[in-house]
Amino acid sequence: MRGLDAKFALRRGPLVLDVDMALPARGITALFGPSGAGKSTCLRAIAGLEPDSTGRVSFGHELWQDSARRVFMPTHKRRLGYVFQEPSLFNHHSVAGNLDYGFRRAKRPAHLDRDGMIDRFGLRTLLDRRVGTLSGGERQRVSMVRALLSDPSLLLFDEPLSALDGAARADLLGCLERLHGTLQVPMVYVSHNIDEVARLADHIVLLDGGHVIAQGSLQETLTRLDLPPALGEALGTIIEGTVCGIDTHDQLIELAFPGGTLSLPHHDERVGQPIRCRIAARDVVLARERQVSTSALNQVACRIVAMADAGASSQCLVQLDAAGSTVLARITRRSWHALGLSPGDEVWAQVKAVALGA
């Protein structure tokens, strides 16, 4: 089944948006880019909230917009679940009233597990509360469940965590991670925070200056060597693995993945739990031999695949392969030459457990 195909252009003040993207029918796709790249505007246009956009948007077998044929399906007919960046609950309803607003308009309400979702997101005790008495985190949780209860066929989340403080954000991120596994419908998740993207997304669309720079699977795209320097800080490796051991004494966990195991600080993971871990390219050190007297806990055997210039003239990006997982490292050119590295070489990639801690 086809996912979301969107090719449109839109002018909004100084921003000129011109995108062409094809998103899969399952999983979470992140829309990532720096502030001002046009991510929110893009999402709004997909939802039909920007009638000035020209182009074509289709989802599955539904044609949502086709400017050439003057087709424009209004927002309320597109079965979307939209969560805005600022908690946008109805002031004139209680929490329960808000949740029911979407639920009462759902196409197939019987198909939804209303009570289950309320409990899973911890809203049971909040049902009778008035909106003004809720914290930011609570409000976003209500917004999310409200969107889910409207029986959407596509979820659009616009930076739902950016207005929240650290604790609330961590809490909600966990909620979303758990939701990811049970999602029946695709989600487009806008964010400028690479850690959120790393933990949640399966696919990614990189946006900058109103244009799509790259799109594809998360791991592949973030380990590409040909992306513009503006996205430099986002680059890195996403490791998906399973927790295979917990050291309660040292408060560390062992993460098993095809290329070996990694040690990371323990939070609240359980054995057997699948988790993701992001390794920023700048945190990877390369060495010809395996080190023994080093504080870095993680050393992974890799083979160099390719090298390219990084943004800063002192640095370069090295793409490595660790038994099928692609790893990206950013090192100085001096080191590249000093170690005499070249594609095909076997090296060790070192990462501090602490760098994986956040």
Binding site: P74, T75, H76, G81, F84, S88, N91, H92, K107, R130
Partner: protein
């Protein structure tokens, strides 16, 4: 009741009936107009908003005069109405309703427009994303959120119509039971030197206006708790 004669009571009842009917019609017709003014990007918005505001600054006698001319047998509207076989509007309750609707128009439309504007776009966008069509959005989101403005509009429209004089003077004809409203009755008592009756009726009018303002502040629900 020695205080108010039958004619005075009739004038009071007529005044309240006029204000009620006018307010009801203005709410009905003013709401879509206010909605349009609050949301349109058309370049007609400013001129139309100015026309709506005109009765605020136009002397009521001027308004009454022009209405008399337009609705009279030589006027544009008057001739059309006669051609349709309908009774002429001046000197009738219906005519007074029409005139009062124009006179009190901004007092109803402006609070409504402000209320709709202050809602902003977001609640309506949210409602649309949750599957609510345009009518649904209006009745389940816009109207409840704009409710304080609706109450203000109703009370202002009512009170303003109760106190109307200049327009009635021009186009009313002072007919008992039809257009002899309280303000005209007071004027007539003064002209006839009947100060006592004029006093009583003026007090009546004052009490009604005060009650209206009090009602406005009591009936308005407290603002919904904000963040």
């Amino acid at each position: 009741m020695a205080l108010l004669s039958d004619q005075d009571l009739q004038a009071l009842a007529l005044t309240l009936r006029l204000a009620g009917v006018v307010t009801a019609f203005l709410l009905l017709l003013g709401t879509p107009l206010a909605w349009w003014l609050a949301h349109t990007t058309s370049r007609w918005r400013r001129p139309i908003a100015a026309v709506v505001a005109l009765p605020l600054v136009l002397p009521p006698t001027v308004l009454g005069f022009y209405l008399l001319m337009m609705l009279g047998p030589d006027g544009v509207v008057g001739r059309t109405i006669a051609a349709l076989g309908l009774a002429a509007l001046p000197f009738t309750f219906k005519g007074l309703v029409v005139a009062s609707m124009l006179y009190s128009l901004p007092f109803v439309v402006q609070p409504l427009t402000n209320a709709f504007e202050s809602i902003g776009d977001r609640p309506l966008e949210v409602a649309a994303c949750l599957g609510a069509g345009p009518m649904d959005r209006f009745f389940t989101v816009a109207l409840p959120l704009a409710w304080p403005g609706v109450v203000t509009a109703a009370v202002l429209g009512f009170a303003h119509t109760v106190g109307e004089f200049g327009v009635v003077l021009m186009i009313g004809g002072n007919i008992p039971g039809q257009t002899r409203v309280l303000s005209m009755r007071i004027y007539d008592h003064v002209q006839a030197g009947e100060y006592h009756q004029a006093n009583v009726l003026s007090l009546c009018l004052l009490v009604v206006s005060f009650a209206a303002l009090l009602a406005m502040s009591l009936l308005r629900p407290r603002r919904y708790l904000r963040d």
